[in-house]
Symmetry: C2
Subunit: 254 residues, 2 copies
């Protein structure tokens, strides 16, 4: 399962030969501390790839042949257990690195990355990592910071799952998504990519049924407006209150 060639032939991601727009990426955390020339040198080794909606960038367990930076679109990282259960690890937003298995010493991708939107990614061959790091040590330092932050976020998720009930967890998840990928509308904030109840269930450790019930409830109260793979937060502030609500104090019962 190499990145290029056969694997990408079927669903259709394709290389784009245009040179990469440096102004788009220069400010990213990954490249902090690099000069303009350094950046050019780093980017020279990357290819830009179009990934159509619902196509996989890489699959869990496959050989970690590349690491990536998302330029445009949205990518969902999921893990599947031997028993077939699946969870959503995170949603990748533009500017994020992902699939950094080579950097953390993994031979194989620990998750599957799927474009949920038509997306554009930069891809470096894994072999480039040690070379680039040797030449530009701040790449390692920057990536360390990023991975450290993700570790903190994942701990936060563990805490949520340990101490909060489903409604609070869903509220948190939606607020996080709205912050990362919210599109401001006049009647609220829309999560700017297709997302199903199932996806939310896999982010919060519950079932799509429970998610559906809770969102239906919120819709009744006018907190959200949701449809097929679409969610708009109409009252973000009230959802924040829901999220912070501790197990004891329940709301008015309609």
């Amino acid at each position: 399962m190499l990145l290029s060639g056969a694997h990408f032939a079927a669903p259709g991601p394709e290389k784009i030969m245009a040179s990469i727009d440096r102004s788009l990426v220069a400010h990213l955390p990954l490249f902090a501390g690099l000069s303009n020339e350094d950046l050019t040198e780093v980017l020279r080794e990357a290819r830009s790839i179009r990934v159509p909606r619902n196509a996989a960038v890489f699959e869990q367990g496959a050989d970690a042949s590349s690491f990536f930076l998302l330029l445009h679109g949205h990518v969902r990282a999921t893990k599947t257990t031997p028993t077939g259960d699946q969870i959503v690890v995170r949603y990748v937003v533009p500017g994020d690195t992902f699939g950094v298995a080579p950097a953390i010493g993994l031979q194989h991708y620990p998750a599957t990355a799927t474009a949920v939107d038509d997306s554009i990614v930069l891809a470096w061959p894994s072999a480039a990592w040690p070379r680039l790091v040797a030449r530009f040590p701040s790449l390692a330092a920057n990536t360390l910071q990023t991975v450290g932050q993700r570790l903190q976020e994942t701990h936060a998720r563990v805490i949520e799952m340990s101490t909060q009930q489903v409604e609070q967890r869903i509220a948190h998840a939606l607020l996080r998504l709205a912050n990362q990928a919210g599109r401001k509308l006049d009647h609220g904030v829309q999560i700017d990519f297709p997302i199903s109840r199932q996806d939310i269930a896999q982010m919060t450790g519950t079932t799509l049924h429970t998610v559906s019930r809770i969102l239906s409830g919120w819709e009744q109260l006018g907190l959200v407006e949701s449809g097929r793979q679409k969610i708009v937060l109409r009252e973000p502030h009230k959802i924040v209150l829901l999220a912070e609500q501790s197990a004891g104090d329940s709301a008015s019962r309609s």
Copy 2:
């Protein structure tokens, strides 16, 4: 809340002036790729500190003045939420780094570290990190790998909490602890530091009551032998089976 001085005055950790035994640490992942002289130089900046049982190495939210390497003993890292809920992030075993907040760009410790055993730690001042990394880039690369691994482990924990029920999660937790800190006895494997039902509950996202009930059940079946802050796995293999058991297939009902 600085590391030295007043903070450590009360419970009694004390500096040990003996030079650090290099043979003990030379093989650790953190130091991979360093020459003997490099190692000497790195160790020169560290102090060795004795931390008595139940004393804190650092507190969540405190200024991240140092980062650490555990030489001897065991340290529990915990996080407390604003509402007072607490979870166990992990148990640190000898050879592990911890409190690496400076490396991942955090100004304050995201968790509290408490010695559960009389322990000995190496401490470097935070200010040393950028200097050491500049001089020995493999430190950053090695730490990146370590943090990456921890991220994987934490994801595994999220998956467990999403897909398994309490009994399986406890089984997994105990097996992990036994692997990391198991002392082999003739009648089983003992977890080699004091650990309460409460601790296990905070590792697995449940209550001490449920942990107690389940361990009592296991004790009936002869799988474990447990007492006050003590657990011996008598039948590790059978516990592995329990851990792998999916939600559907329940055991024989006595």
